[in-house]
Structures are given as structure tokens and as C-alpha cells.
């Protein structure tokens, strides 16, 4: 079985700084795989292991900065056989429409796949729209919120966990499947995996014909922080717990 797993590279949100004018400074934030996409990569690896003879190709598009050797090894050390990356500054800050257009071309250049897996949502936008838009561009069916994927022959049986129900659905392959973080816990790659990752095939290309975004960002500012009292007590100090309890009672 040919499995594609789509992932997004985002700045590490732990290192995003908020400047005095409330704008964001990404200069210290290193590129990393968006957190829940690691779960999708793990599911791809497990699906491949359950179906001997399978191949996993991880695919992403983004600005030139995503072409980072540590990041590439990190992806290839997680049961991924090949990496396909379109790294071009014309692909920075794309919306779902433009991302799907770029991804569709990257997927088509990478081969033909039975299953295209994606994560639940990206750390930056969490719009949960790219898998749907990609499926539309490629003329494929899409299933979101997947918590279990079983492939048999030319179809997959998928359990999807919604707000108030679990649906079991059947979809003909090829299909795009967006998985929730619960589906698989990402592995911690060992030294051997990381060393082997450096020898796996990775195709890094530039974008030839970028598609324009359909939305524009008017402003992006950190919220004004709420005015909090910031009374912090040491629990071991005399009367601290009583003072805390009294404040809590008064607030109810």
C-alpha cells in the first residue's frame, strides 16, 4: 500500500515572542513539525507496518526555512520511507486554498497513493480545512476526525469521533483521511533511527507556479493581557492556605 502523510512545518510556539507593540517575533522560533501532524506520521507508520510491503512518503510545502536538516531527519526517523518537500518563500503563510493547491501538485509529483493521511489541525491556524480542500482539488473523498483506520483491499473502514457520536464509515480508496491526535502516540526516535534517516531519500524542490491566497491577513496582534491580581503565596507559609481559601470563597 502507498501511504502519503501530509504535514506542516510551523515555528516552535514556545519561542514566539510578543513585542511591546503586541506584534509577534518569530526570529527565535525554530521550524518544527506541527504537533498533531506527528500523530498522523505515526499512524502512517503503523498502517504501513500492518500492511507489509507498504511505503510511507511524508509530504509538505512551505517557505525555504522548512528545509532544515534536523527537521528532515526527525520526520524520516519516524517510520517514514521518503520525504518530499516543496520549500519556496512563495509558499509562506498560505491559507487552506493555496496550501491545498501546492500540496496537490507535490502529491502528484510524488506518486500515486492509496491513503493520504493528515493531522487534525495545524498549530498556527487549526482551521482543519486543508485535508478537505486537498480532497476537493484531487477529486477524492475525505473523512475527518478519524480515530481508527482499517484498510482492506480497495476500501477503508474508519471510526470517526465527533462531538457527541462515533461514526463508523466506509470509504473507497484512494481517500484523504484526517486523524485526531488520539489515533497514535508519536514514537520517540532512537539514535539508530536518526542515523538511518540521513540516508533515506528526500526530494527538496522549489515551487514553479504558486497559487495566490484567497484570504488576507489584516492584522495579527497578541491579545491585551487581562489584569490579574497576581497574589502568589507559598503554601508552606503560615496562613497561606487560609488566605487562598478565603479569596476563593469570596470569589464564588
Amino acid at each position: 500500500m502507498e501511504i502519503a502523510v501530509l504535514f506542516k512545518v510551523v515555528p516552535d510556539d514556545q519561542d514566539i515572542q510578543v513585542k511591546a507593540d503586541r506584534t509577534l517575533d518569530f526570529s527565535k522560533a525554530k521550524p518544527k513539525v506541527s504537533e498533531y501532524d506527528l500523530n498522523a506520521i505515526e499512524e502512517a507508520a503503523q498502517l504501513a507496518a500492518a500492511n507489509p510491503g507498504s511505503k510511507v512518503v511524508a509530504i509538505t510545502v512551505g517557505p525555504k526555512s522548512i528545509d532544515d536538516s534536523k527537521l528532515k531527519k526527525n520526520v524520516l526517523a519516524r517510520g517514514v520511507d521518503e520525504l518530499v518537500m516543496v520549500a519556496d518563500d512563495s509558499l509562506d503563510g498560505l491559507d487552506a486554498y493555496a496550501t491545498a493547491a501546492a500540496l496537490a501538485k507535490a502529491v502528484e509529483s510524488a506518486g500515486s497513493f492509496d491513503v493520504l493521511l493528515a493531522g487534525d489541525g495545524s498549530a498556527d491556524n487549526y482551521a482543519q480545512q486543508v485535508p478537505v480542500q486537498l480532497a476537493c482539488v484531487m477529486g477524492l473523498p475525505v473523512v475527518t476526525a478519524a480515530t481508527k483506520v482499517d484498510v482492506d483491499g480497495a476500501a477503508a473502514t474508519i471510526e470517526r469521533t465527533l462531538e457527541d457520536a462515533v461514526e463508523t464509515v466506509r470509504v473507497a480508496l484512494p481517500a484523504v483521511v484526517a486523524v485526531t491526535p488520539d489515533i497514535a502516540l508519536p514514537r520517540i526516535p532512537g539514535m539508530k533511527d536518526i542515523l538511518a534517516a540521513g540516508k533515506k531519500p528526500a526530494a527538496i524542490t522549489a515551487e514553479q507556479a504558486p497559487v495566490a491566497c484567497a484570504t488576507e491577513v489584516v492584522s495579527c496582534l497578541a491579545p491585551e493581557s487581562a489584569d490579574r491580581k497576581l497574589v502568589v503565596l507559598d503554601a508552606k507559609a503560615d496562613g497561606a492556605i487560609d488566605e487562598f481559601a478565603a479569596a476563593l470563597k469570596a470569589a464564588l
Partner: protein, 294 residues
């Protein structure tokens, strides 16, 4: 301009129809069950055929949008309808602007990086699709004659087959409506320790929620009680955080609370820079004493 509202729940149908009224001359509401009374000019009840998923109603709704000459679509952000929104946006060559919290000057405001920032976004296309959370149109009033429009199901080219549906067992607590919320985090090292948090809930009349680690992986608390990015976004009167460091991904779901109380053993935890009252100590020592003091 005409607006199309797509909603599964009656509350969202009412609120989004009211909001659509502020954006458009005519409001068409599409629902999957009975529509609330007098909320839109026209109402289309979509009958999803047996064996089909709600997500696959996109083609039907697209046909409705085209027939009515709709320019803006407001969608309730459920799992089903987010797929519907994405398919409609793709067909119209645009992107859905998701989880909108408010609209101002033609731009829609939504969280970026789970709340590190708020972005205002505008469609560059003539056709706009938004998913809108509850509260965005809290002040708007819905009105309309609810004229029935009949809609035929348009099957998608590649349908997904619904095999079975099982309801999720809910914990019964709706934290969205709770005035007091107690949230437990990674500071709880054993499931049995949660009884101390439950006792605190009993003392102060709170509902128990958690940060992500307690529902994902260990499964100590139900998934629908998880607070933070992609989980609950709460604004209770009082929020008590126990053994939670206060990472942004969690705090975005709690930082609109009236008063924030926090217990954590690490005095440098970010939670202590975002609370009204903080107590530095291990929950194992602090909670029995706190419960006794209340």
C-alpha cells in the same frame, strides 16, 4: 447580498441567522432537523439519506447557495459542518475563515497559534465562508418568516458510506455553563488523586475539567472536559487550576475567566503570571488542607 446559514444545533441556527441579518439583506437557513421559529427569511431542511454522512451534504448546500445567489456562508463549527464549509470554499475558490470570534470593519477575528495572537482576516474573493463560534453574534436578534424551501439531495461524486453511529457517553457536566470550573493537570500523578479535586468541586460547586495530558494517553477524564486549544474555551466566574503549568495551549481555554486561582508546585510555572491568586505547593499536600479550610 444573501447569506446562507448552515447549522446542526438550534442554538447556532438562531445565533448565526441573527448574525447573518447584520451582514446580508436576506437570510437563508439550512438545518438538518427542525428549525427554530422566525429566524430567517427562508428555511431549507436538509434530509440526509440513510447511509450518507452529513459532511456529504456539501453538494446539496452548494446547489442551494447557487440557486439562491448567496454571497456569504456562515457555518456552525461542528466536525461535520467544518467539512461542509471546506468543500463549499474549495468549490468557490476561497478559504473558510474558521472559528471566528467577532466581526469588525469587514474583517473576521480568530485565534492564531491557539491564542498567542488574534488575527483579523478578510476574504479576497467575492464569496466568503466563515465558521463562527457561539457568542460572536450574542447581541444580534434573529427575525424572518421562515418560508420553507425544498431542497433535493445532490449526491457527491465520491460518497462516504455511513455504516453505523454510536452515541458518545457524556459525563453529564456541561462545563460551558458552569460558573465555577476546577481543572486538573499533569500535577496529578495517579488517577486516585483526582478524588481530591472532586472533593474541591463539591466544596465550591464546580465542574471538573482537565488539561490535555489527563484525557489523552492516560484517559483519566472524559475527552469533552479537556480545556484548551481544540477543546473547551471557557469563561466561568471562577477558574481553579490544579497542577497545571499554564502553557498557552491550555490557558487560551481559560484566560477569559472572571477570577483565576492556581495551585502548582513549580513557583516559576507560567500559570503564576496569569492568575489572581496562586499557591505554590504540591497538590498532594495543598489540596487536603485547602479542602479542610473551605
Amino acid at each position: 447580498m444573501k447569506a446562507l446559514v448552515i447549522a446542526e444545533s438550534a442554538d447556532a441556527a438562531r445565533e448565526l441567522s441573527a448574525g447573518a441579518r447584520t451582514m446580508a439583506d436576506e437570510v437563508v437557513l439550512a438545518t438538518f432537523g427542525e428549525a427554530p421559529e422566525a429566524v430567517a427569511d427562508k428555511v431549507a431542511v436538509i434530509a440526509v439519506p440513510e447511509g450518507a454522512i452529513v459532511d456529504d451534504a456539501a453538494d446539496t448546500l452548494l446547489a442551494l447557495a447557487d440557486a439562491e445567489g448567496v454571497g456569504v456562508v456562515l457555518v456552525e463549527p461542528t466536525r461535520h459542518l467544518k467539512t461542509v464549509a471546506g468543500k463549499i470554499a474549495a468549490a468557490k475558490g476561497t478559504s473558510t475563515i474558521t472559528d471566528v470570534m467577532s466581526f469588525a470593519d469587514g474583517a473576521a477575528s480568530a485565534l492564531y497559534f491557539g491564542g498567542v495572537a488574534e488575527r483579523a482576516l478578510k476574504p479576497s474573493t467575492d464569496f466568503a465562508v466563515y465558521t463562527v463560534g457561539s457568542g460572536a453574534f450574542a447581541d444580534a436578534a434573529a427575525s424572518g418568516a421562515n418560508e420553507a424551501v425544498s431542497v433535493d439531495w445532490v449526491a457527491p461524486a465520491k460518497a462516504v458510506e455511513l455504516v453505523s453511529v454510536a452515541p458518545v457517553q457524556k459525563s453529564g457536566v456541561d462545563l460551558n455553563k458552569a460558573d465555577v470550573v476546577v481543572a486538573a493537570g499533569r500535577g496529578f500523578s495517579e488517577e486516585a488523586q483526582l478524588d481530591m479535586a472532586r472533593e474541591l468541586c463539591d466544596k465550591i460547586g464546580g465542574g471538573l475539567g482537565c488539561s490535555r495530558p489527563l484525557t489523552e494517553g492516560v484517559d483519566w477524564l472524559p475527552r469533552e472536559t479537556y480545556i484548551g486549544v481544540s477543546g473547551l474555551m471557557l469563561s466561568p466566574k471562577v477558574y481553579v487550576s490544579l497542577g497545571i503549568s499554564g502553557q498557552m495551549q491550555h490557558m487560551v481555554g481559560a484566560n477569559r475567566s472572571g477570577m483565576i486561582f492556581a495551585v502548582n508546585k513549580d513557583k516559576n510555572a507560567p500559570i503564576f503570571k496569569q492568575c489572581d491568586y496562586g499557591l505554590v505547593g504540591d497538590i498532594v499536600d495543598v489540596l487536603p488542607a485547602l479542602n479542610a479550610a473551605l
